[in-house]
């Protein structure tokens, strides 16, 4: 768990469609894309993101609103397709 995940956190499900460094675009089930960046306390590391994009696997992201940025801050990413 991330340290910042003290309070209740919003969740979003979707597919990672674009990855750049620690930033990624999540296309939700309704087809709308959202901009995310990995929080400094997120357990996922930058180098794990391209694999998510390549696999096009569904993920659930716990996030909060990024301060002064039009983006969300991802605190935790869970794979949904893993059997």
């Amino acid at each position: 768990m991330s340290k910042a995940a003290a309070g209740p956190m919003a969740e979003m499900e979707g597919v990672v469609t674009v990855v750049q460094e620690g930033r990624f675009q999540l296309t939700d089930l309704g087809g709308v894309s959202h901009n995310f960046m990995l929080s400094r306390f997120a357990l996922a590391e930058t180098e794990q993101l391209p694999a998510l994009q390549n696999a096009q696997s569904r993920v659930r992201v716990k996030y909060s609103q990024a301060d002064k940025l039009i983006a969300y801050l991802a605190h935790r990413i869970d794979l949904l397709d893993v059997a």
Partner: protein, 314 residues
């Protein structure tokens, strides 16, 4: 070596492409991208129209979020400055009347010399970007090796190594590198490292509609810039000069040259560029020497005092 874009364009008559075009940069920028060569940007501010296509293209390709939206009241510049999330920034300089300290040696204050109030003929625009310095102070200061020189002679922050110490931020003489407190890493222009590896020219250069931003091999760009300055001088714009080429302003103080350099028509400060930046790492040895010799001197004084105390007391 320049490849004429049309020559290669004939190879692709279709309007829909099913695959990535190999070496697309030959078509769009007339340059072949090969590891081991030096690449950079030549930003010719005299043809910049301030459309901010470069800012948008950069944000799009690099998936960079928008900084807080708001109006600054500073001409058309609502971006403000380069930041962790903004790697191209268009400056808008609305020149007012001719200044009182205009002299005969430096009469021209813009493309056209006039004393009108804010008007397009006295309006300078410049797309600012990371300079990818030859002796990059950010890279020289980075304690983790996160900042490195790529095979294209550009400077990139490796996000999986950076621990957010922030030392590069204070080292940069141009205020380019910035920390993002949310992800805790330093960020700056990568000169589209991923695109270069795939044979694509950087997003900003490809998007620029006036060729104000030119991407290419450094030696080619230097030649192009020199020709352009000569041309402008011949046309009466005597204030044109390059910033960041060898021996020019911006490449001072052992900085050697900047891989992304500019053609300017006013003094560097007008564009918020330092006239004579220096290489910070040249100050490491003198600072160490001064500190250590002070310690040595004071330790010697201490030795004398302790020895004196031994003979007089007991």
């Amino acid at each position: 070596m320049e490849i004429h874009p049309f020559a290669r364009a004939r190879e692709y008559p279709d309007s829909v492409f099913h695959d990535v075009i190999p070496n697309e940069s030959e078509l769009t920028g007339g340059v072949t991208i090969e590891p081991g060569k030096q690449y950079g940007f030549f930003t010719d501010t005299t043809v910049c129209i301030g459309c901010k296509s470069c800012e948008v293209a950069c944000k799009e390709w690099n998936n960079l979020p928008a900084d807080d939206i708001g109006l600054t009241g500073q001409s058309y510049d609502n971006t403000g400055a380069l930041s962790a999330n903004t790697w191209r920034h268009v400056n808008f300089i609305e020149k007012k009347q001719a200044l009182a300290d205009d002299t005969a040696e430096r009469p021209a204050r813009g493309v056209r010399d006039n004393d009108q109030n804010a008007f397009q003929s006295g309006w300078l625009m410049m797309s600012d970007v990371c300079k990818h310095c030859h002796h990059a102070p950010c890279m020289e200061s980075c304690p983790t090796g996160a900042l490195f020189k790529t095979e294209f002679d550009t400077v990139v922050v490796q996000q999986d190594i950076c621990n957010g110490c922030g030392y590069c931020v204070s080292a940069c003489p141009f205020g380019v590198v910035a920390l993002n407190p949310l992800d805790g890493k330093a960020h700056k222009c990568t000169l589209c490292y991923d695109r270069l590896k795939g044979g694509l020219e950087p997003a900003c250069a490809k998007a620029c509609p006036t060729e104000s931003i030119q991407f290419g091999e450094l030696s080619d760009l230097w030649e192009r810039a020199a020709t352009r300055v000569e041309d402008l001088h011949a046309r009466g714009v005597t204030s044109a000069y390059t910033y960041g080429t060898p021996d020019a302003p911006g490449a001072t103080g052992d900085m050697k040259y900047l891989n992304s350099f500019f053609l300017l028509t006013d003094r560097p400060e007008a564009y918020n560029l330092p006239a004579a930046p220096t290489r910070p790492s040249n100050r490491v040895a003198p600072a160490f020497a001064a500190g250590l010799s002070t310690i040595a001197g004071l330790a010697l004084a201490a030795a004398v005092l302790f020895a004196g105390a031994k003979t007089t007391r007991d």
